[in-house]
């Protein structure tokens, strides 16, 4: 059981998860990060924790078992979870997918950058949002 507010991040790529956690560590943001590999694990984890402890969910789209889009749909259809802000963080530049995610209720759709500097900025933004939901 987490007693700290945390960001829940779902990405099936091991390297991406590693870079994300390293970046957060280097930024020194005082927020807990929890990583899972796919959409089903997102739902599982939420059901085991106190829902109001999760301040932000970051979803990759191309995941096995339950894709990012489907996970988003499940989250927004669940009265217990739908208030949690969800950011889509994906390699895909597909306009149609972007439209669908935003319509489903995602807060933002961000394409994974290739420049590290941009990446760092995005992590800062994630932190900022997680702090918003506090208080």
């Amino acid at each position: 059981m987490s007693s700290l507010p945390y960001i829940l991040i779902a990405d099936d790529d091991f390297e991406d998860r590693y870079i994300m956690s390293e970046t957060f560590r280097e930024l020194g943001c005082p927020v807990a990060i929890h990583m899972v590999e796919d959409g089903t694990k997102v739902i599982e984890y939420l059901s085991e924790q106190e829902a109001d402890m999760v301040k932000l969910i970051v979803l990759d789209l191309n995941m096995p078992r339950l894709s990012g889009t489907e996970t988003l749909r499940v989250l927004k259809n669940n009265p217990g979870y739908k208030a949690i802000p969800v950011m889509i963080f994906s390699t895909s530049v597909n306009e149609i997918e972007k439209r669908i995610c935003l319509d489903l209720g995602a807060k933002e759709y961000i394409t994974k950058p290739t420049k590290y500097a941009e990446y760092v900025q995005i992590c800062k933004k994630f932190y900022a949002i997680s702090q918003e939901s506090l208080g």
Binding site: E15, I19, T91, K112, P113, T114, K115, Y116, A117, Y119
Partner: protein, 539 residues
């Protein structure tokens, strides 16, 4: 042989009697009047030089035994002429031409001449018949030879008249038929031709025989016909000719005919002449040809369809491959780009300056690869999509909006004339215009701000769009291959680009069933003329 009668040849009267008896025997044997006369004449011919008491000549008339397979009536002349020789005797030589079998034997002072005339195969000889004949020939009523001849004459005249009548009837019949009818000898000489044949070919019988059908038969069929006809003469009774082309004199047109050649035999079964009937089958032959062509066309069509299917499948597979390859390549590419940049950011300061340069090269190369893969992906995804009514004006406006930043940067001036609505795919057309306009912006002269004019002329079926700029242009020799994949006209350091842009343009235009043409020269700008149909069939 069975003896039927005897005639002693003393004088001329006996000669006449011999003639009469021979005629009678032939008549009883069922031979035609013509055959009777022939036989009797043969007998007279060999006998005429033998008459005279001093020669002791006599004739014996026979008929074959019923057991014999081939049946004849036979006359045997025996005499004592001293200087008889078959080779020198005119009568003998003449008779030889008239009957089937003749022989002469000289033994000592006796001459024996035997001549035979063949009877029809179906003729049956029995004892009763032979007795009847004997009675008939030996107890004939007292009709004088003169009266006999007169009787025969009358018969002949009647026969001639009947023959003439029949001939006229035959001619009337054959002339009334729309079929060619003609008779030929064994040497293929035409002896009779009906009206239809004469009228159709415009030739006379003499002409036909002289030219051997060369003016009538199609040259390609002439040789075959000659081979066929001469082979059929030596063979069966009835031959069906293969289709041949005969020239219709009035129109000069060759028409297909087919026919039947039938042998006309005499009583002995010997072929005397050939009757030929030819009928016009031109219409049927044309139908046959058309059907054959249709069948062939159908076969070719089926083959083509199959090839098209194979090509389509192959195309699909290629597109799929290009899509998957470029799509799947993007992920590792992203990682390379990211890590290169990541390493530069993290450890750049700790590395020697050289390493930094190399890293830049790495990053640049990766960026180029990314653009290339994106372009290949874009190219492979241009495929037959649905059409709808689109406003070219609006699409251009949207495109210019998307390129706003570049346009401002280059201080470009873009003039657009009113463009029509057409059936098309708006996404693909937007890509097309974007490629063309961004090319014009990219390939502008370094000291001259780009000036681009876009206009269109519409006619009944198409719109002709013109994209004209004042950029660096291109050499004429490059125009032919300009729209091929990966064609770059400049070195990489001068102008960026993967060389796919124009290939994508061409593919989009192909999908719209249009065409594109480029013109321009170095330093004088470029013009792209694009023809697009106004209407499409939505499949």
């Amino acid at each position: 042989m069975n003896q039927i009668a005897k005639v002693i040849l003393d004088n001329e009267m006996d000669l006449i009697l011999a003639h009469k008896q021979s005629m009678r025997l032939a008549e009883l044997a069922g031979l035609s009047l013509g055959a009777q006369t022939t036989f009797a004449t043969a007998v007279s011919e060999v006998s005429r030089n033998a008459i005279g008491k001093e020669n002791a000549a006599h004739l014996t008339l026979y008929v074959s035994d019923k057991k014999e397979k081939l049946k004849y009536i036979t006359v045997v002349l025996e005499d004592n002429r001293p200087s008889f020789s078959a080779a020198n005797d005119e009568g003998y030589k003449y008779a030889k031409r008239l009957v089937q079998n003749i022989s002469a034997v000289v033994s000592g002072s006796t001459n024996r001449i035997e001549l035979s005339y063949r009877l029809p195969m179906h003729f049956i000889i029995d004892t009763a018949l032979i007795d009847k004949w004997r009675i008939s020939l030996n107890t004939d009523p007292n009709i004088s030879p003169y009266e006999e001849i007169k009787r025969k004459n009358t018969q002949l005249i009647e026969l001639a008249e009947r023959l003439q009548e029949k001939e006229q009837q035959y001619k009337a019949l054959t002339d009334s038929l729309p079929i060619m009818i003609f008779s030929m000898t064994n040497e293929a000489t035409v002896t009779y031709a009906n009206k239809w044949l004469i009228d159709y070919t415009g030739e006379t019988i003499e002409n036909i025989n002289e030219t051997k059908w060369q003016n009538i038969l199609h040259p390609d069929d002439l040789k075959d016909a000659q081979i066929n006809w001469s082979s059929s003469f030596s063979k069966a009774d009835t031959i069906i000719t293969p289709p041949s082309r005969l020239k219709h004199a009035k129109t000069g047109e060759y028409r297909w005919h087919t026919g039947v050649i039938t042998a006309m035999k005499d009583e002995q079964g010997v072929v005397k002449s050939w009757n030929t009937y030819m009928v016009d089958i031109h219409a049927q032959k044309l139908v046959e040809e058309t059907l054959k062509n249709n069948r062939q066309l159908k076969e070719i069509h089926a083959e083509l369809e199959e090839k098209v299917n194979l090509l389509n499948r192959s195309n699909q597979q290629l597109e799929q491959f290009a899509y998957i390859a470029s799509h799947d390549l993007q992920e590792p590419l992203r990682k390379i780009s990211f890590y290169s940049d990541f390493l530069k950011e993290k450890y750049g300061k700790a590395m020697p300056e050289e390493a930094g340069l190399f890293f830049n090269n790495l990053v640049n190369a990766t960026d180029r690869m990314k653009v290339l893969i994106t372009d290949v992906l874009a190219y492979s995804t241009v495929r037959k999509d649905s059409f709808e009514k689109v406003s070219l004006d609006e699409i251009i406006k949207e495109t210019l909006q998307d390129l706003e930043i570049s346009i401002k940067e280059k201080r470009a001036e873009i003039k657009v004339e009113l463009l029509p609505e057409i059936d098309g795919n708006s996404r693909q057309l937007k890509q097309l215009f974007e490629n063309l306009i961004s090319n014009s912006l990219k390939f502008s002269r370094p000291d001259v701000s780009p000036d681009i004019s876009i206009s269109g002329i519409t006619d009944n079926d198409n719109v002709l769009l013109s994209f004209k700029d004042n950029g660096i242009g291109f050499e004429e020799q490059h125009i032919a291959r300009m729209f091929d994949l990966f064609q770059r006209l400049h070195t990489r350091d001068k102008y960026s680009g993967t060389g796919i842009g124009l290939a994508i343009c061409k593919k989009i235009i192909d999908m719209h069933n249009g065409s594109i043409m480029a013109s321009g020269s170095t330093g004088n700008g470029a013009t792209f003329l694009i023809t697009l149909p106004l209407r499409q069939n939505n499949t």
